[in-house]
């Protein structure tokens, strides 16, 4: 039997440290570790996906995972990776499927922008001694208001939702992730007074207690969408696209559709949940307007309606259309966005960086004089608090994080979510794996992460002489580019460091 695909990783077990407790063998859902008859441990490396579960759990830190060094002849064009992908497709005849966001070495613009600090001509503000406001209100607003004789506003102001930090948890459906993972996010959202997003899988009843902190998504498959579902959410998000797979719909393999998923999504058990590529009732911008207003009618105009698109070439024009179609919030997901399952080629080649899309959309909406009417939320790999500050300086009202929250819960980016064997209990529906994720512990870790980021944001704001996030929004003079071309600086709307 000719083996074209070698293991990617080697399991290094330090015999001097291994106490043969067998925890690794019991934990590995990919069946890599095995307890032999004499009690010793062996490893079948070809199955290892490098999820790091055994490494983290081993009581003596006896295990490490390293790259399996088997080098094809060097070729800058036909790399090992490109050849292995062909081997896979020659064997299966199928589309290559991956999970999580684009891992290719395209430029990361967050890392090419620098922030300002105030000195002498303008004092920096001390966040320990002065209030530093990171509260944000999302929703549609009028450009101006009218008052009556008593000074009360008579203009009708559309509903808004308040978040204490400019960070929300992005859509991850029940089905793509486990109920325990969703619960952890919901609990964290409640504690932080922000929102989590149900994704396109409907809302499981265990999450009803957290409805006040939920955003409900209406995606092309309309899974789990019924009147009570819409009523429960505080924001309704129409998902047109996502950064990991612009132009195509979601795919949840039948193995991940157990009885709970089936009930929540309102589909038969064991059937593949395939969301169609477009919404089949939105073929043009006016159709979107129709859907937006249908949703508003169904919920009595009490909730803001958001529209989420993937960042693509003409995002600016699309965003402008979305604003004029009546959306209250525009959400954009860049090409680094994550996913439970997406075709590799689309993930790695379709879409554009969120930094550029954000700058372009924010500027276009301002040029048209409509930026102040809506809130702009972005996603697509926010990795730390500096990314958030830069995003807001470029013009965002708030950011969505997803992969970062999962990493806080233990995800090690092994990127095999689509197999449904997540050893951390995150991207799986297997009961024996899901129970590994204790929402009490994991929600606390997520809360810690967001609190830490909030403190860092406050420190950076204070350093810039700003005490309210309102004054950072769109304040591009606080950014300078480094190592960027003229064109990139122009698109981002910022100057180069030194200017």
């Amino acid at each position: 039997m000719l083996e074209y695909l070698m293991p990617e990783y080697k399991v290094i077990r330090d015999k001097d440290r291994c106490i043969e407790c067998g925890a690794c063998a019991r934990q590995c859902s990919n069946e890599v570790h095995k307890i032999e008859e004499d009690g010793s441990l062996s490893a079948d490396e070809v199955k290892c996906v490098n999820c790091q579960r055994c490494v983290c759990l081993c009581p003596t830190r006896a295990i490490s995972i390293q790259k399996y060094e088997n080098n094809f002849r060097e070729n800058a064009n036909w790399t090992d990776q490109s050849m292995k992908e062909i081997f896979k497709q020659a064997a299966t005849g199928g589309i290559l499927l991956s999970a999580m966001g684009n891992p290719q070495p395209y430029p990361i613009y967050w890392d090419k922008m620098l922030l300002n600090a105030s000195q002498v001509t303008n004092p920096s503000i001390d966040p320990l001694r002065e209030p530093m406001e990171t509260r944000t209100i999302l929703g549609r607003k009028p450009d101006s208001v009218e008052f009556d004789e008593n000074g009360r506003i008579t203009t009708e102001i559309p509903p808004g939702v308040t978040i204490d930090v400019p960070i929300m948890f992005s859509a991850m459906s029940f089905g793509s992730i486990s109920l325990n993972a969703q619960k952890s996010l919901a609990m964290a959202a409640k504690e932080l007074n922000t929102f989590y997003n149900t994704g396109e899988g409907g809302m499981h009843q265990d999450l009803f207690p957290y409805a006040d902190h939920s955003i409900v998504q209406v995606a092309s498959g309309r899974f789990g969408v019924h009147k009570e579902y819409l009523e429960r959410g505080q924001i309704i998000e129409i998902k047109i696209g996502q950064g990991a797979k612009p132009g195509i719909g979601g795919h949840l393999p039948g193995e991940k559709v157990n009885s709970e998923v089936s009930k929540t999504r309102m589909i038969p058990e064991g059937s593949d949940a395939i969301s169609p590529a477009p919404h089949h009732d939105i073929y043009s911008i006016e159709d979107l307007r129709q859907l937006i207003y249908s949703l508003k009618e169904a919920t009595g105009y009490k909730k803001p309606v958001a529209v989420k698109i993937a960042a693509v070439h003409n995002s600016a024009a699309i965003a402008s259309g979305i604003v004029r179609a009546g959306a209250d919030i525009v959400v954009m997901d860049g090409y680094r966005g994550g996913s439970g399952a997406t075709p590799t080629r689309i993930r790695d080649n379709v879409g554009i960086p969120i930094e550029l899309a954000l700058a372009a959309v924010d500027q276009r909406l301002r040029d048209e004089g409509i930026r102040n009417q809506i809130s702009l939320v972005i996603a697509g790999s926010i990795r730390n608090s500096a990314d958030i500050v830069k995003a807001i300086a470029l013009g965002a009202d708030a950011v969505y994080v997803a992969s970062a929250a999962l990493i806080a819960m233990g995800c090690h980016m092994c990127r095999t979510c689509n197999t449904g064997k997540c050893n951390w209990g995150i991207a799986t529906q297997r009961d024996d794996l899901v129970k590994r994720l204790n929402p009490e512990i994991m929600s606390k870790r997520v809360v810690n992460l967001i609190h830490a980021w909030d403190h860092e944001i406050q420190e950076m704001l204070g350093g810039m002489g700003i005490n309210s996030i309102d004054s950072l929004r769109g304040n591009r003079l606080m950014l300078r580019g480094i190592g960027l071309s003229e064109k990139e600086l122009e698109i981002l709307g910022i100057k180069h460091a030194g200017e």
Partner: protein
């Protein structure tokens, strides 16, 4: 290669002063010059200016355009534009004294003009909006021409130099106004452009400003959505446009507008009673782009009166005093005491709480 205002952002520190008589009784510029001269060390001689209200009673229905020209061609082009849009009643050089300290003066002219009836009707705009757009158009499009004052029965006078010298240069002791504001500049760059000095004006708004706002670009990108062009790239310009937008275009009462720019903190709002809480929450939501962050003290003048304001955290000095019908404002107590020995009341202005005096006999312009 030094860039001038409009090509680059120049932060500045400074001195400001203001005197107003609420009954509209006019007085000469001597006092204001004395006051600002006391604060000599707050400037560095790179800019000084004054705004005066009530100085052209004989032409109080006409817009008084004060314009700088770099060259004859700029003057010709501008006058062509003015003649297309306005009927000019009187035009001429602004009288000045020859002083060796004030160098490189541009051509300084003023015009008393009314919008041409036909063009005004065709534009379907109120005359204030019509004039604002004309001024912005001249400043953005005609090279070498800069309209630095465009209100009725008021005028700004500014130059590169210490303010007391600028006051003497423009012969302000010969004018009489019921409201005077003054500014001395300490820019951290040496552009030497007269247009960069304060006050910044639009129609009858004038602002003298001390401080540097860190929210500048957020404010600029907000206000530029509504037809303004921040061509000078100065904080003063954007603050003036914010007031113009909120008060003239959105018809918000001046004091509330000031409160919006220095909005109360969320902690304060959470502690308010429900009606006020809803009002301020909505205002902060809608006008988040107008919130000003960073140290500032400003004196805003208009034909209706004067308003003085400090940033929320009170990071700049501003002192106020009242004596009889007069209101005095300055960056330093001494600058008030030098012209008013024993004011009835003197106090340090609180952060975010505007000090307002309205003219009791408002000019019907």
């Amino acid at each position: 290669m030094l860039k001038k205002e409009g090509e680059i952002r120049i932060p500045a520190g400074c001195a400001i002063s203001g005197i107003m008589n609420r009954k509209g009784i006019r007085f000469s510029g001597v006092d204001i010059i004395t006051s600002i001269a006391l604060m000599h060390d707050r400037s560095n001689g790179l800019g000084g200016g004054f705004a005066a209200y009530g100085i052209y009673p004989s032409h109080k229905e006409f817009y008084a355009f004060h314009i700088f020209y770099d060259a004859k061609e700029s003057k010709e082009k501008t006058e062509e534009f003015l003649n297309e849009h306005y009927d000019i009643d009187l035009a001429g050089k602004i009288p000045t004294r020859k002083m060796s300290i004030i160098k490189d003066a541009p051509i300084i002219w003023r015009y008393f003009a009314k919008p041409k009836e036909s063009t005004l009707i065709e534009s379907a705009l109120p005359e204030d909006e019509y004039t604002a757009r004309c001024v912005i158009s001249i400043n953005s499009n005609i090279k070498g021409a800069y309209v630095f004052s465009s209100g009725k029965n008021m005028g700004a006078f500014k130059a590169v130099g210490y303010p007391e010298d600028v006051g003497e240069f423009y012969r302000l002791d010969e004018y009489k106004a019921h409201l005077w504001t003054a500014h001395g500049r300490f820019p951290t760059n040496t552009p030497g452009w007269w247009g960069g000095a304060h006050p910044f004006t639009l129609l009858d708004w004038s602002i003298v400003h001390n401080g540097e706002i860190s929210s500048y670009d957020a404010n600029r990108r907000y206000v530029e959505m509504y037809g303004y062009q921040c061509s000078l790239q100065t904080d003063t310009e954007v603050i003036t446009y914010l007031f113009d937008l909120l008060v003239r275009k959105h018809k918000i009462n001046l004091e509330l507008a000031a409160r919006i720019l220095t909005a109360p903190s969320w902690d304060e709002i959470d502690a308010m009673d429900p009606e006020k809480k809803e009002l301020f929450t909505n205002l902060r939501r809608i006008y988040s782009g107008a919130l000003i962050n960073g140290p500032f003290s400003i004196i805003l003048g208009s034909n209706k009166g004067v308003l003085a304001l400090n940033d929320r955290l009170k990071l700049r000095a501003l002192v106020a005093a009242t004596d009889g019908d007069n209101l005095y404002l300055a960056s330093e107590e001494a600058a008030i005491k030098v012209i008013c020995r024993n004011p009835e009341k003197i106090w340090y202005v609180e952060g975010g709480k505007p000090v307002v005096m309205n003219l009791e006999v408002p000019d019907k312009c």
